[in-house]
């Protein structure tokens, strides 16, 4: 067994040799990290002079189990219920080795090279209360590198609320292993400051009949890459990825998804709704791969963008790689503006122009928020998120 330190040393060497990917790397064509990120980070020692107030940046669900990472260090973990266990990743080097076969992947070697905190969360049964994991950086000098591995046992289920806020650089790799019949509902809320760089890689591996439902909402942040890769290992697996991006200013937000259907009889459904204002730049790169033996796969992928400004920019790169013959796959994308007729219709009913715009834009993202219906505390989450969407829109109106 390779030791953890040995693997980390290897990752450091690769990072030193290759650094961040640039636009010549096909996966990073639209998001050139080498141009925007420093080649080295100084890991700060954590010295919090006062309590960090992050309440109003989290998902705000009272009954949630709370794990807080401040500047990359786990500072708070409430009492865990039966069926949830947390252990240190450093004691499980084989897990890292198993999931990082392809250590040439920049997000992986960069994460491992700088890793500050790594944990393993084991879910062995149905957990009723949602679990919130909040990541916050307290200053522009802070860089946090965290790895979390989730393992859901057969039949286990969890609602995970992940949120990101603050400044600096944050890089999270979360790996999810879902055994048969397990279910993970995963909300990712990205609401960072204008200067933050957030690289969030989320890898999911689904066994038979495992269900993964992801809703990602990005409301702000300087540069963000929200990447999700799902691998379907056995029949019956399903993944739903729904993303709403609302970006303004000079934000650059990149949604990259990869659905890798290795097994027959698996389904996936990817929806992205992007709203861009000012000079924001949005990217949707969605790839669906259906392997040769993966018959009867159903995979749909859809990206819609609403441009609120002529200076905003949207790049869409959908890819279907299908090697099986009996499959139903579809993708579609559209880029448009506010519908002026609809706007007039609402205004003719007494609704002021700003409120009417907000209504149309909320309508545009409501399909995504609607996917939270089945989440634990779904109604509270929807209400909180709608308020934040409205705040974003008021700012940009």
């Amino acid at each position: 067994m390779t030791s953890f330190n040995h693997m980390q040393q290897e990752a450091k060497e690769i990072f030193a040799a290759h650094g961040w990917p640039n636009k010549r790397n096909e996966d990073w064509h639209y998001t050139d990290l080498s141009a925007r990120l420093p080649s080295s980070f100084q890991n700060q020692s954590l010295e919090l002079s006062e309590d960090v107030h992050i309440d109003n940046l989290t998902c705000d669900v009272e009954e949630a189990l709370q794990l807080n990472f401040i500047n990359g260090l786990l500072t708070e973990a409430g009492e865990l219920p039966d069926g949830l266990e947390i252990s240190a990743l450093i004691d499980n080097p084989d897990l890292v080795q198993q999931s990082d076969e392809d250590i040439t992947d920049p997000l992986l070697y960069a994460n491992l090279a700088h890793l500050e905190t790594g944990i393993v969360i084991d879910v062995s049964q149905v957990i009723e209360e949602p679990m919130e994991i909040h990541f916050h950086n307290t200053s522009a000098e802070e860089a946090s590198f965290v790895r979390i591995i989730f393992r859901l046992a057969e039949g286990a289920s969890l609602t995970l609320l992940e949120s990101h806020s603050g400044w600096g650089h944050t890089q999270l790799v979360s790996d999810v292993y879902q055994h048969e019949d397990s279910m993970l509902r995963h909300l990712k809320l990205h609401q960072a400051e204008d200067s933050q760089v957030s690289l969030l890689l989320n890898r999911v591996s689904l066994d038979a009949r495992a269900q993964y439902h992801n809703v990602a909402i990005s409301l702000s942040g300087g540069l963000g890459r929200l990447e999700t890769r799902v691998t379907f290992n056995a029949p019956g697996g399903h993944a739903g990825l729904a993303t709403a991006l609302l970006s303004g200013g000079k934000q650059h937000i990149d949604i990259t998804t990869r659905l890798n259907h290795l097994s027959a009889d698996t389904t996936s459904d990817t929806v992205a709704r992007t709203i861009l204002d000012d000079e924001a730049c949005g990217i949707f790169q969605g790839k669906v791969i259906v392997h040769e033996d993966a018959q009867r796969v159903e995979a749909t992928q859809k990206s819609d963008a609403l441009m609120l400004s002529a200076d905003a920019m949207m790049n869409v790169k959908p890819e279907l790689e299908i090697y099986a013959d009996d499959v139903a796959c579809a993708h579609g994308s559209a880029i448009g503006e506010i519908d002026h007729e609809a706007l007039f219709f609402l205004r003719s009913r007494g609704i002021g122009e700003e409120a009417a715009r907000i209504m149309l834009v909320e309508g545009f993202v409501s399909e995504i928020l609607g996917r939270l219906d089945d989440f634990a505390a779904g109604a509270v989450l929807q209400e909180n998120l709608l308020k934040r969407v409205a705040t974003f829109l008021k700012k940009s109106a």
């Binding site: 007729e341 009913r349 007494g350 609704i351 409120a355 545009f364 399909e367």
Partner: protein
Amino acid sequence: MSALLEIKNLHVSVADTQILKGLSLSVSAGEVHAIMGPNGSGKSTLSYVLAGRDGYEITEGDILLNGVSLKDMNPEDRAIAGLFLAFQYPLEIPGVTNMTFLKTSVNAVRRGRGEEELDAASFLRFVREKAKALRLDDDMLKRPLNVGFSGGEKKRNEILQMSVLEPMMAILDETDSGLDIDALKTVAEGVNALRDAQRGMLVITHYQRLLDYIKPDIVHILAGGQIVKTGSPELALELEKSGYADYVGEVVA
């Protein structure tokens, strides 16, 4: 006493094309006027310009509601002032439920009129009662606004909006098109329920049938961007028989 709605020598162009060419018409409180006219004569243009749609330029003339010019008023303020247009082609708005829309609209108008907003419970009671009268079931209130509604359902939904907004001056643009006979009666009942001595209505239609149920006081014929004839309700019956042939020639382009 001045008219409720007064349209004076209205000239309107759309995309540099003159559509309305000196249209005058006045509706007093308590009256229902019908406008009939051939396709493309400018009826919807008139309704849009009354409601304040962008791109409809008034090059001459004026529109007064209760003596106040609407020319520089935006669409929302016209609604607050009491104007309502039932669209010939109602818009679909995905992601916004009919109920949310209605509530936002009613409360925006109430706020604008200096009235108290309705709380969620009283609004629900209010809108349910109105919807029931129009035979629109609760399910239609929960669905996204007009999305997947049938043609007739969309029209009934327009009348529901009118019922909850209680406008002083309503313009109905071909609200009868797409309605089956029962729905036509239901819609007419909804419209008639609002008729009173203070309100006025402008009913645009191609067919006498609607006017059997919503009895107009006055009928106008609009052709070539002008009112070419104004008369009693019998005028509509005449048109039913002989068409517009006698009128379309009268306008000098």
